[in-house]
């Protein structure tokens, strides 16, 4: 069954106001910027964002006023440092106040893993003695029923929708993702629904030729969006590398609210589609980021 939709339609149908949305789950690579920009263009409000180390997509969604709450391990600009919009929102309630429930990379992964297992929580010894539990009232400190030792209980977290950017998918949402996976699989398995954004749409046979590379069951997928370069400026292994300069420019230009608004007008609001974004980026920059030398894995034999 084809679940192919345009990005506009996928966001319109499956990311309503007030939704909890997990995205940017591979940490620095495969961040679904095209999806985030469409969320901004459609003026979504009161979203909860869920993620590990989140790069500048969270900062952009916060600056655009889409976000009410953050459940994440880190919000900023990975290669540059602080996220200016995150600071303005948390320090001055600009453009609005946001609630933050702080996690670490491990606890956000465990929270999603717990939901994926139908478990109410997962205990860990990480973060004992840290002040982070004060900033996240969902955590409970308890004693192990086995030996009485201190534990932190991380409750299950179920996103309304998880948005994953992948290398390739079929029209039904059977998707291959490779490279380091961050908490992509945990977030897919935990979510009520999943939007797959793919560099390439391939026949089902390509996916089923290598089922070990599939990220999760396609029955959870509600929409498949074909969006080449949809993760720029983040990297997609085998397609393009990270555009470090883009992060630097964003960091420099968004120091003031006015600077952010200009950046947003130029790169998001003033463009209707990802095709317009890529035209603006230009072929020279695309060429510089594209694959210079292919490195194919050895084929595996599923024969019998």
């Amino acid at each position: 069954m084809s679940k192919l939709l345009s990005m506009t339609e996928a966001i319109r149908r499956y990311v309503p106001d007030g939704a909890s949305v997990a995205l940017g789950l591979a940490l620095e690579p495969c961040i679904p910027f095209a999806a985030g920009h469409e969320i901004i263009r459609q003026g979504r409000r009161d979203l909860t964002l869920i993620g590990p180390i989140s790069d500048i997509l969270f900062d952009q969604l916060i600056g655009a006023g889409c976000v009410a709450k953050i459940q994440a391990a880190w919000v900023g600009n990975v290669s540059e440092g602080l996220g200016h919009c995150y600071r303005r929102a948390t320090e001055q309630a600009l453009p609005r106040s946001i609630v933050t429930e702080d996690h670490s990379n491990f606890t956000i992964g465990l929270a999603l893993r717990a939901a994926s297992l139908g478990a109410p929580y997962i205990p860990t010894r990480s973060l004992l003695g840290s002040d982070l539990p004060r900033k996240n009232p969902t955590f409970l400190q308890a004693s192990s029923p086995f030996d009485g030792s201190p534990l932190l209980l991380v409750p299950a977290l179920q996103p309304d929708v998880t948005i994953l950017h992948v290398q390739r998918s079929d029209e039904d949402g059977n998707a291959h993702l490779w490279g380091s996976l961050g908490i992509c699989q945990e977030a897919m398995l935990a979510a009520r629904q999943v939007i797959i954004v793919a560099e390439e749409i391939v026949p089902r046979e390509v996916i089923t030729s290598d089922p070990n590379r599939v990220i999760g069951p396609s029955y959870k997928v509600c929409a498949v969006v074909h969006e080449p370069w949809g993760a720029h400026p983040s990297a997609v292994q085998g397609y393009y590398d990270r555009d470090h300069q883009f992060y630097h420019e964003y960091h420099t230009r968004t120091r003031t609210p006015e600077g952010f608004q200009q950046w947003l007008d130029e790169w998001v609001l003033g463009l209707k589609t990802r095709q317009e974004y890529m035209a603006k980026l230009g072929p020279a920059r695309q060429g510089a980021l594209g694959v210079k030398e292919h490195r194919y894995a050895a084929p595996v034999d599923y024969g019998y």
Partner: protein
């Protein structure tokens, strides 16, 4: 031979890595420290990256983030974040690297906020994997710029636990970590732009181990928000060798991380 303060920090960080160790590699300077150790005294060390990656060769190009494409190529294992932090939770990772915005004399790190935690004056990005590395690695190495407002008597917020604080139940140090339930670890070293500190595990206090060439005990004290205690063998930091500098400059020819 001339070198920058950051080049010296990379060298000091690399020297913390022992051959054969499993090292949880953090952002920025540790990415270079891992490459340097690998190509000098620790050819058998293994790097673990929180994106979900293990590799035993340095990446072929300079990394801006651990998720950059050259870091995936030739990796030993590309997997999930909770699998690799899980290895650390199980006690299998010898050394972890992290940075911080603020640190105190007991090695407690703050990367969350400045001011009152309920109404912070400055909001910092947060833990990332830092709090996990500080909680779970066997030894912790911390790298940060040395400024008086960053090295404080007590941090505003403990993101990543070091040796805690003395309280009515006992001293800071390893005893504090046991009291709160942390399974192991604690800061082994703090590397700054001016100095290297080690820690006394029984009191949890930082000890000035060495001051960098061009700095002095007095200058370090001036930039440190607690009264210094000196290690018995406190001396000047051993400067980088020409070989160490050559490798760093091969890895970072334009000084992206080291200028």
């Amino acid at each position: 031979m001339e070198y920058t303060p950051r080049e010296l920090m990379v060298v000091c960080a690399a020297r913390q890595i022992r051959d054969g160790e499993r090292v949880f590699v953090g952002m920025r300077l540790p990415l270079l420290a891992f490459a340097l150790a690998k190509r000098t005294h620790a050819p058998n060390c293994v790097g673990i990256f929180e994106t979900g990656l293990i590799r035993d060769t340095p990446a072929r190009e300079l990394l801006y983030t651990m998720g950059d494409a050259p870091n995936i190529c030739g990796a030993l294992w590309a997997t999930s974040t909770i699998n690799v932090i899980g290895l650390m939770a199980a006690g299998e990772i010898e050394l972890g690297f992290i940075g911080g915005a603020e640190i105190d004399r007991y090695g407690n790190l703050n990367t969350s906020l400045i001011g009152n935690w309920q109404q912070p004056r400055v909001r910092l990005p947060g833990s990332g994997g830092g709090a996990d590395i500080a909680s779970l690695a066997q030894r912790l190495a911390i790298i940060m710029p040395h400024e008086r407002h960053r090295l404080r008597e007590r941090v505003d917020f403990v993101t990543s636990p070091g040796y805690g604080y003395p309280d009515e139940q006992g001293p800071a140090g390893v005893a504090w970590r046991q009291r709160v339930g942390l399974p192991r670890g604690g800061p082994a070293v703090l590397i700054t732009t001016l100095a290297v500190f080690t820690f006394d595990p029984t009191t949890g206090e930082a000890l000035l181990q060495s001051y960098h060439p061009g700095s002095s005990i007095e200058q370090v004290q001036e930039q440190t928000g607690w009264p210094l205690r000196l290690a018995p063998d406190c001396a000047e930091t051993v400067p980088p060798t020409p070989e160490e500098l050559r490798v760093i400059r091969e890895c970072d020819p334009h000084g992206v991380w080291t200028s």
